[in-house]
Symmetry: D2
Subunit: 288 residues, 4 copies
């Protein structure tokens, strides 16, 4: 979908700002004069008159020409246009910490894709409140941190988790982690968190979505990968997927069929995030 | 999916009863001894021990052998097993009345399929609270009854609608009819009602689902065909379908993309109902 | 997916050229200095080093500023970069002639979408080698030209068709037109032709694809919308879609299920073409 | 989709025979009188007059009542109706041998599903012409037989493979095994073989289907799970699946996206086969 993460010398620029004429021209001229070759560009405007403008550019730039690039861009382009922006060196893969409880399918799927270099990212550790998946993770030569979450002592567990995560990663992925994270945790973690919810949100938010789906008699079940925010199961959606089911599928079968869409939706969302293709827009996302 | 509605001499038997051994054997032996040839059979049990058993059989039986068939079946098979059952002669297509407001896509899709003999049913009239679609319907040589629904006088409109529907049809289809039907109407109409809701229920029940979908930032939108019950948008689901959307799609575009899945989901549900492939099970459906 | 065709003052620029640094910068600077506001931009490069670059820009430009725009762009930008390019005024909807034989579903679907202003285009005439669909077309107040194609006299029929089409349209759509067009016709018609083939090409090219699909026992059937070239069923693919089928579906049922994906694939392809979102690349397409 | 493989006491009966009245009645009466409780029944007839009839029944029968059941059924029911039939004890899971070359995704997906008890089958060994996946397989405590296939000495390799397989399994799965098996091997192996082909057959049969797909510019790519027959890539299709792609996807990306549908299509086909839900019908399949 995008230039390979292993194309050497690739940079990614992400911008959002109030829309007005001249943005694309200003940015592309700046990059051209800096010696860059734009490889891919995507843009979206909520409204050309008075809306918000989103831009993502991938460009090649020789390392010797990068000095001071960010500063100059900030001064000459970003400031005049009032841009919120970030620049990411694609040679530096994002570092991911995975949090998981007992279900293995989402974790194993991510580990496989990582091994096959599909993620465009590095998995650096796994944190779990259970021991079940320790042996699986060991095979990938990854640290597996067991942090049990005892009733009424979640704050201690979260303190330990924050200590482990501190400075070590660019993204936390909840691969069927079955504990609700506190607002304090979310405030302090300092990196985005992606969760996979096992329903087609906003349908069946909360607990036991497959049971809810069975009781409501839906004909399709789904999975939703979203950024975690303070409001449970209500953060910005990155990716969704569904699969057809029937009256014959009991709750266990729904969970089994659902597992296939969960891991696919989560993998797609993590890939998109790690390739800097997701921009937040209020409580929604722009995915290029 | 099933023997053609135009196969002459085809009958359909639908059964639900407490599950226990001997049901299939009892029914199929009865039919065999009556001279029938079973063409298709579907069954489903919620639980072989103490659950509910659902059976649908299509069989061929010469007209001269049909006399007293239903009575004998009731006495010899249905009563001993405590069956709820019905027998339908497939040579007699179901008669459909369509209720519609201003959107044309679901109505026109049904009319076309009817003309192409895809529905396995007859459309007998259209009732609308607006005049917009009168010319379209006229081309199909169908009665178009204009019954305006004035504020605070819905009861008068419903009385007129019931009068029109009385004894004329086996099914009412709400093809984007934008008025809520009263519990009295539902009680008195005497035939099933299928509605198309323009969201993937239970997400975005109620008004303006495409606006809700846009605000929530979902990545798929859907449509749900369901039987109408007193609780709004909560009746048994027959068919659902989805289509992928993106941040680029505004509310109007969502409505346009959604229209394609609405008409498909509604057509599939109406076909399934008219071929007697839908059995209700509490607030869910078994669709064979 | 794109700025509304009815946004007044919208222009679309489509470019392909050898890739090299500075293209986006050159084009966007030219447009900015001309007073344009870029509303949407898409680009794709087969290879940043030595590949082909494709660009599509939608921009707003007041009518009084358009004089000489194309000439200046040709001189200052297109020529130095060796561009193949075209500029299209979105206020001028593309004019479509539809050719059809007996099947109604693709034609009717296009006519409906046109009436609902979904196509972003005008249908200007229908040409058919049969009389079957004349009454349907009449309702849309469109000319219906009956040009029978007699065996061994196809050249006369094609001469008549070319006469009707001459200068009247920007696109010809074959909405299940069951005659093969001669190379002479293709050379002389002067506008692109989009065909809908009732299979998932390249599987089941040629005649009777649903029969072929049934015999091969496939579990999905499809439809393919493509540009017509001299080699039958081998032109650049614009859009494809599939639907799940089973052993229960005979050839007639496959045709019925397939009709739903045919009309959807054709509508999507025609929309994409009429919004200038399709660029040809050898025997494939880039669809933005 | 079906009664759990772990429901104790479950038997499955599969039948095909010339269609005529009385088959369902005869079979279900026999089972009822034998003390069985039919849990699920599916049937299909190619044509009620003179066609072929297919029946699959799942029933519960206490072990003490099973003695002589097959013999009695053969004598009293199967012979008079001219049935081809088999009876399978669901308590005895099918034993699978997997053959693989270097790609890991299909093999690992099967191993995971096996570990989660999703397959309803036992994997008993892995045979590979390469060493690449030995460590992965070791973790599942399965024998990994390395049988290199040298040019011009395939017959020796196949002799060794047949020796390993002899009497050990009920199904061979080719999970991206990149060697063509000889007709002699197919004749001698004595169990069905399921292969996954990485295209939407019959499109792109043969080598390098993703390269072929890229060159043809298709908008969807697929995977096909089928029984292996002497004619390469032409055996009866069990399951197919597709995923949408675009001009941006190069051959490597197509292979990556395709891997997700390959493993899903293969898993579904293996599950269906192991639950005895697939009946062959000439060169096609009936999948209940």
């Amino acid at each position: 979908m995008t230039a390979k993460a292993d194309t050497p010398g690739l940079l990614r620029l992400l911008i959002s700002c109030p829309d007005r004429p001249g943005i694309v021209s200003g940015v592309s001229r700046f990059l051209y004069e800096a010696g860059a070759n734009i490889v891919r560009s995507d843009q979206y405007s909520t409204d050309p008159s008075g809306g918000t403008f989103f831009l993502r550019m991938e460009f090649l730039l020789a390392p010797e020409r990068r000095e001071g690039l960010a500063e100059r861009f900030g001064l000459k382009v970003a400031e005049p246009f009032g841009m919120t922006w970030r620049l990411w060196d694609a040679d530096r893969p994002k570092r991911i910490s995975v949090m998981v409880s007992r279900y293995d399918h989402c974790l194993l799927d991510l580990l496989w894709r990582w091994r096959r270099n599909e993620l465009g990212a590095e998995i650096v550790m796994v944190i779990s409140n259970h021991l079940d998946l320790r042996e699986d993770v060991k095979l990938f030569e990854l640290p597996y941190h067991h942090v049990p979450v005892e009733k009424d002592r979640k704050d201690e567990a979260e303190a330990r988790q924050l200590e482990l995560l501190d400075g070590c990663c660019d993204l936390v992925v909840l691969a069927r982690y079955m504990q609700v994270l506190s607002p304090e945790f979310l405030n302090r973690v300092g990196v985005p968190i992606i969760n996979i919810h096992h329903s087609f949100l906003p349908a069946f938010a909360g607990a036991n979505p497959y049971r809810q789906a069975r009781e409501r008699g839906v004909k399709l079940i789904g999975a939703t990968a979203h950024y975690v925010t303070e409001e449970l199961d209500a953060g910005p959606i990155i990716e969704q997927n569904v699969v057809r089911v029937s009256h014959r599928d009991d709750v266990d079968t729904l969970a089994q069929r659902g597992a296939d869409v969960e891991r696919l939706a989560l993998a797609r969302a993590v890939q998109a995030h790690c390739e800097d293709r997701v921009l937040r827009h209020g409580n929604t996302t722009v995915v290029f």
